[in-house]
């Protein structure tokens, strides 16, 4: 548990808009570490650059400064914010998509995809096209697809952000169960304090733009967790208060 999986040092990212000749600093001197097998949530207001940090970790965006060290044999898998399920493929084909790109044989692919459909509760929808699925089901497909080629690090970019609260609660519980069985290293982005405390071993709090890490809080609850029952714990609400206080103290509206 003590081995480091991800090490981010002084990570800075800025965007330049040629039309208005303006430079925007999206993330500034971001520093954190994630241990192998750890579940870390980054929480922050929208526009704070948390998604940008994750996209840089995923290799989808270049960094301007600083360093990233990923101690892993394979590139991280990503679960995206919105419906990222490919509409022209069935659920089965979507989940097997990364394997099919690598030319894994159809039989092996089928066996592995079946495993994941079972794990994510999608077995009954294997041959459906995504437009027949609810938002929650689509995000299950995204999660299954990210797990299919068994990469060590899982990056999740507000995967449940667009779902209603009941569905979100169900998927959080499922995600915890899956994480406990697979033992992946997870970096999970959210703007929901509640979600971060429900899922994470550690919560990193980010300030508004230019985003930087302002706190690193350990979440003490035992595992396996029950996403409903843990709300009876006073520590849950103390931590909620603590995170909100941090977020409020850096809010630009307050200082304006």
């Amino acid at each position: 548990m003590s081995e480091t999986a991800i090490e981010v040092r002084n990570l800075t990212k800025a965007f330049y808009d040629a039309d208005s000749d303006r430079t925007t600093i999206a993330a500034y001197e971001v520093e954190f570490e994630v241990k192998r097998g750890e579940f870390v949530c980054i929480v922050g207001p929208s526009g704070c650059g948390k998604t940008t940090v994750l996209r840089i970790l995923a290799g989808l965006e270049s960094k301007l400064g600083g360093s990233i060290d990923m101690k892993s044999d394979n590139p991280p898998a990503m679960v995206f914010q919105e419906a990222s399920v490919l509409p022209w493929l069935t659920v089965r084909e979507n989940v097997g998509f990364p394997l099919s790109l690598k030319g894994v044989s159809a039989a092996k692919r089928r066996a592995r995809v079946d495993e994941l459909l079972e794990l994510t509760g999608l077995a009954d929808f294997a041959d459906a096209l995504p437009h027949r699925l609810s938002g929650g089901m689509k995000q299950r497909v995204s999660v299954a697809r990210a797990l299919v080629d068994d990469r060590e690090i899982l990056l999740m970019d507000e995967p449940f952000g667009a779902l209603d609260e009941q569905t979100r609660l169900v998927l959080q519980q499922e995600l915890l169960r899956i994480w406990e069985t697979t033992g992946k290293t997870v970096v999970f982005i959210t703007h929901s304090v509640d979600e971060a405390l429900t899922l994470a071993d550690r919560v990193l709090v980010m300030s508004p733009r230019p985003g930087t890490i302002i706190a690193d809080l350990a979440v003490p609850f035992d595992r396996p967790r029950d996403v409903v029952e843990m709300r009876r714990d006073k520590r849950f609400w103390d931590l909620t208060y603590e995170v909100w206080r941090l977020l409020a103290s850096t809010s630009p509206e307050r200082h304006a």
């Binding site: 989808l60 995206f80 490919l86 998509f97 990364p98 096209l129």
Partner: protein, 271 residues
């Protein structure tokens, strides 16, 4: 298992079904409205309200049509036209789609080649037919080429537009899943652009028949266009109408066939 037993009254169910029933009635009527027009034409022509020399009654046109079917005369012309359209169509569509994919995905390619195609596209295809006849002769080759040119541009622009509309997230998914450039090309950009490609295919089918008719007026000894032109020269108006009906029907059925294929291949798009 439901916790509440719910039941609607007969009247509520009737009210619920009413809009669907009305819709069905109008759909039935819609099948017959063209027949109504033909009937009106027939009567007007028989009573000499419209000039019979220009608008012979549909029954007379149908009679001529029937003669031409039984004598197999019409089939030679249909065969010639269909052969020219289908060969030219494929010759134009495949490069149009491939180049559309390249231009859609690569901004440098778009910057360099875009202006060239933009300058060539507005040239009327019929206007360059004499030039094409000069280069490729009066045989089928010139017809293939002129149709291919028309089809090419429609597919180039529709495919390019479709690829450029590919949601960034699909490209991110491909990259994260480890797709190569070629895989991104064929497994993301192509399917994502498929609805637009079919729009292009349908537009191209329509314009193919416009182009072939004009091309056959000028330089052909067979085909439906030639047949319309030859009928005009002998003032055989009924035969002209047969030609017009046949070429419209060919276009209609081609587009219908494309729509059926689209439903099969693009089941996720709204129809």
């Amino acid at each position: 298992m439901s916790l509440v037993t719910a039941k609607l009254t007969e009247e509520q169910i009737r009210e619920l079904k009413a809009p669907a029933q009305r819709e069905r009635l109008f759909r039935t009527i819609s099948y017959f409205s063209p027949i109504l027009l033909l009937l009106l034409w027939e009567v007007a022509s028989q009573l000499n309200v419209i000039d019979r020399r220009f608008f012979p009654p549909p029954s007379a046109i149908a009679g001529t049509f029937w003669q031409m079917i039984t004598s197999f005369e019409i089939f030679d012309h249909i065969g010639a036209t269909l052969r020219r359209v289908s060969v030219g169509y494929v010759m134009g569509a495949i490069p149009g789609i491939l180049l559309g994919l390249v231009l859609g995905l690569s901004q440098p390619a778009r910057r360099v080649l875009g202006p060239i195609f933009a300058a060539l596209y507005p040239v009327p295809k019929i206007a360059i037919l004499p030039l094409i006849l000069l280069i490729f002769g009066v045989g089928d080759a010139s017809k293939f080429v002129v149709i291919a040119i028309g089809v090419f541009f429609l597919l180039l622009y529709n495919t390019m537009g479709g690829v450029m509309q590919t949601p960034q997230i699909y490209l991110d998914v491909a990259k994260n899943a480890g797709a190569t450039r070629l895989q991104t090309f064929f497994r993301i950009a192509l399917p994502s652009a498929l609805p637009n490609i079919f729009t292009g295919l349908r537009l191209a089918a329509g314009s193919s028949y416009i182009i072939i008719a004009a091309a056959e007026f000028l330089g052909a000894r067979s085909g439906v266009g030639f047949f319309i032109w030859a009928s005009w020269q002998t003032f055989a108006v009924s035969r002209m109408f047969v030609g017009i009906v046949v070429i419209s029907a060919l276009g209609y059925f081609t587009i219908l066939a494309l729509e059926l294929i689209e439903r099969k291949l693009v089941p996720w798009a709204k129809h």
